[in-house]
């Protein structure tokens, strides 16, 4: 694999090594602090069952935990639960709770709390559930004070992945207002929030697992992308995640720049319901016309991970490398266009949300490359809300350049949207073979067969050039050289508990 991967792996290895050897018997640093810059305030809700924004959930990850949680390799590890088992019919999940888990208010976690949390998260006590798969939950039963059974209507092999999301976190039953006074079981506890200014977290010393190293974490809100570099260089912020390669080049030598992947699929998503994208030859022609390496070179100094289908490399066992499906070949592109009845090319518009600079830049390069085969792409910048309503919900567009990520660590999170009758199929992709393959997923519970189907589905998308696939974008994290131990996750998550002061 690439060097990027290696960096991430090295980071993980270093953390593991340090956890085993350094830090003098696991004693966390006393009265240490770090200021982390974040691009937006946590405005939606601090209640884990109501948080929708990815930027909010990545912070809540430090405060809340579910019965299970993801680790940095993407595996699910037990958190509030010690272990779990599934009945033979795949309908009953039994979670045995860990003994020493305490909430931040000092109370132990009981089976009652777990039942309350799952039911609240699933929208069974009123309100809406943010996890659509939870509509499959029939009931939550307390078997004894350490065991909770979740009974499903239909088997769902991805169920544990949903249980591990922040939206299914365990919270105390007696907390009336989880949004105003968040109480969880995570390695950090909530101290205060000043709107549009900062959020303060403190280490939870009675955490059941390895305690966090740094005692005080302040999240400083820096809404203007232009002042991030100044804040970092000026010393008011010690860390900032998801920088562009341009921003990292302007950092002073006091910062280490770590490189990982954003875990999304950046592509020109085509609306297959409109002409000429209802013609597979046109889609293939455009895929041949676009030169991904050239895009990476021009927009991110060659950094990024080319992908050829709707799955990114962090999915490991499900991921098939299809990035070579359409090697750049303008002649072939012209030939296919002629075959499809467009010998002189055509014009279309690429809608791009105006707040995502990397997508705007990529769109400019794509437009320039398509010109060479006679296709004239006009870039249309729209506000994010307009994009959501017109493009994503309204499906009123020709093509859009955007990154699509996975809401949970399940392959279906990436592939479900290309079923012809999926409610979130914003590309209007409609392919009989794809639907047929997808329906087979429901008939098998063997993990190997499912993996096989996932791979076939990815190949189907690549073969039919469902979209002009570009890359999983490189992600840069700036961390002051006073600290170390930053860990990349295959999910949209920031884990502060693993960051520690460098010992000199």
């Amino acid at each position: 694999m690439s060097r990027k991967r290696l960096t991430a792996v090295l980071c993980a290895a270093m953390t593991a090594a340090a956890a085993l050897t350094g830090c003098s018997g696991g004693k966390p640093d006393a009265s240490s602090k770090i200021v982390v810059g974040i691009p937006q305030d946590l405005e939606d809700s601090l209640d884990p069952h109501e948080a929708v924004a990815a930027g909010t959930k990545e912070i809540l990850f430090n405060i809340y935990e579910g019965l299970l949680k993801p680790d940095e390799t993407g595996e699910l590890i037990p958190a509030v639960a010690k272990e779990y088992s599934v009945s033979d019919d795949g309908l009953t999940y039994s979670f045995i709770l860990r003994d020493a888990v305490k909430f931040h208010n000092g109370n132990p976690v009981t089976a009652e709390d777990v039942k309350y949390s799952i039911e609240k998260s699933a929208g069974m006590t009123g309100g809406q559930s943010l996890i659509s798969a939870f509509s499959n939950i029939k009931e939550v039963n307390i078997r004894d004070d350490r065991t909770v059974d979740i009974i499903l209507n239909e088997p769902d092999i991805d169920f544990p992945a949903y249980i591990a999301t922040v939206n299914a976190a365990v919270i105390p039953k007696d907390n009336d207002n989880p949004s105003a006074s968040p109480v969880g079981t995570g390695p950090y506890m909530y101290v205060s929030r000043s709107p549009q200014e900062n959020i303060v977290l403190r280490r939870f010393d009675e955490y059941w697992g390895d305690p966090a190293y740094i005692e005080n974490v302040t999240l400083k809100i820096i809404p203007s992308a232009d002042s991030i570099v100044m804040n970092l260089n000026g010393g008011s912020v010690d860390m900032f995640a998801r920088l562009t390669s341009t921003q990292t080049q302007q950092l002073s030598e006091d910062f280490n720049v770590l490189e990982g992947e954003m875990n999304l699929v950046q592509a020109v998503y085509l609306n297959h319901a409109v002409e000429p994208f209802d013609n597979v030859d046109v889609c293939r022609a455009l895929s041949y016309a676009v030169d991904v390496d050239n895009i990476l070179e021009l927009t991110s100094d060659g950094k990024g991970f080319p992908v050829g289908s709707s799955m990114f490399p962090a999915f490991r066992k499900y991921y098939v490398d299809l990035s070579d499906s359409y090697p750049t070949d303008p002649d072939k592109a012209r030939e296919l266009l002629a075959q499809a009845g467009y010998p002189d090319g055509f014009s279309f518009s690429i809608t791009v949300p105006s707040n995502y600079q990397p997508h705007i830049e990529a769109a400019q390069v794509v437009a320039e490359q398509l010109k060479k085969v006679g296709v004239n792409a006009e870039i249309k910048l729209v506000e994010w809300n307009t994009w959501l309503s017109d493009v994503y919900s309204g499906r009123d567009y020709e093509a859009t350049l955007i990154g699509v990520d996975a809401s949970s660590l399940t392959a279906t999170a990436m592939l479900d949207r290309f079923r012809s009758d999926a409610s979130n199929n914003f590309t209007n992709y409609s392919n009989k073979d794809y639907d047929e393959l997808y329906s087979k997923l429901y008939l098998t519970s063997s993990e190997e067969e499912r993996t096989e189907i996932y791979m076939e589905l990815q190949k189907n998308l690549a073969d039919n050039a469902a979209n002009i696939y570009i890359q999983d974008m490189a992600e840069f994290v700036a961390l002051s050289d006073k600290y170390e131990g930053y860990v990349f996750y295959p999910l949209y998550v920031q884990d502060f508990a693993k960051i520690r002061l460098k010992d000199n």
Partner: protein
């Protein structure tokens, strides 16, 4: 020659402004017509290339020739500003002429409406238009054009008000000239010095307005370039490649300087 020297000493703004504007126009025209580069052609190997014989000002983050882009960007900005002013001037003269010449209730209503529009900051008003009709070069021209009408209408109305009872108008009326003829053949030429100098100042405002709107990302759409758009792009590289922002900023500053000196000079001449 002596006459010219005297004229320059008497009104240095006019000649300095004309000189700067002429040089800028020359640069823009020569760059647009004679540059061997397609301003949108990208080249990975020329990314942030230093100034050289091939690229006199170097290249931007996509390896596009900066000189070609600055010229075409300046041309776009000038085109937007010119068409904006032409549009608002035409409408402003018509409204101003009728209200100033006839007065009365229609004048009152139109001018109060005018005051209401003037009360809004022009960029804010243009933003409202853009959010309603979408962005793009032509929409910027139309929205700015509408926004700039009231200021011209007010100036033209004032001039017409001043002139409508002057002797030459009266005698024209006695000779049987129609109202339309009096307005546009007799009065209008006499208001030109004032109107022209305000048009040049308005032109400056239009250049700045276009640059600000493109800077905010709601004006000219990429990959088309305009000076505001380029300045907004350059901002990301302010620390690593400051020359990009400096060239673009200087271009805007010089254009504005030239035209505002010209405007001042014209006013002085009037």
């Amino acid at each position: 020659m002596k006459g010219l020297k005297y004229k320059i000493r008497n009104n240095p703004e006019l000649y300095a402004g004309a000189l700067i504007s002429a040089i800028m126009l020359l640069i823009i025209i020569s760059g647009t017509i004679f540059s061997p580069y397609d301003p949108n052609a990208m080249s990975a190997s020329d990314k942030f290339a230093a100034p050289s014989m091939a690229h006199p000002l170097g290249c931007d983050n996509f390896g596009r020739d900066l000189f070609a882009r600055l010229s075409i960007g300046g041309a776009t900005t000038l085109l937007v500003a010119t068409l904006t002013i032409l549009m608002s001037l035409t409408l402003g003269i018509i409204i101003g002429a009728f209200t100033g010449y006839y007065g009365g209730v229609v004048d009152e209503i139109l001018m109060r409406f005018n005051d209401a529009v003037l009360a809004f900051p022009s960029i804010l008003l243009a933003l409202v238009f853009i959010s309603q009709f979408g962005s793009g070069t032509w929409k910027v021209i139309i929205s700015l054009g509408i926004v700039f009408v009231p200021s011209f209408a007010r100036i033209v109305r004032g001039e017409f008000l001043r002139c409508r009872n002057l002797d030459y108008v009266r005698s024209a009326r006695l000779m049987g000239a129609g109202d339309i003829r009096i307005m546009f053949v007799h009065i209008l030429p006499n208001t030109l010095p004032v109107v022209l100098s305000s048009a040049v100042i308005g032109f400056n405002n239009a250049v700045l307005a276009e640059a600000s709107m493109s800077f905010l990302g709601i004006g000219v759409q990429p990959p088309a370039s305009s000076l505001g758009r380029m300045l907004s792009d350059a901002q990301a590289f302010l620390f690593s490649e400051p020359s990009y922002a400096i060239y673009t900023g200087s271009m805007i500053a010089l254009l504005i300087l030239g035209f505002s000196l010209l405007g001042d000079g014209l006013k002085k001449n009037a």
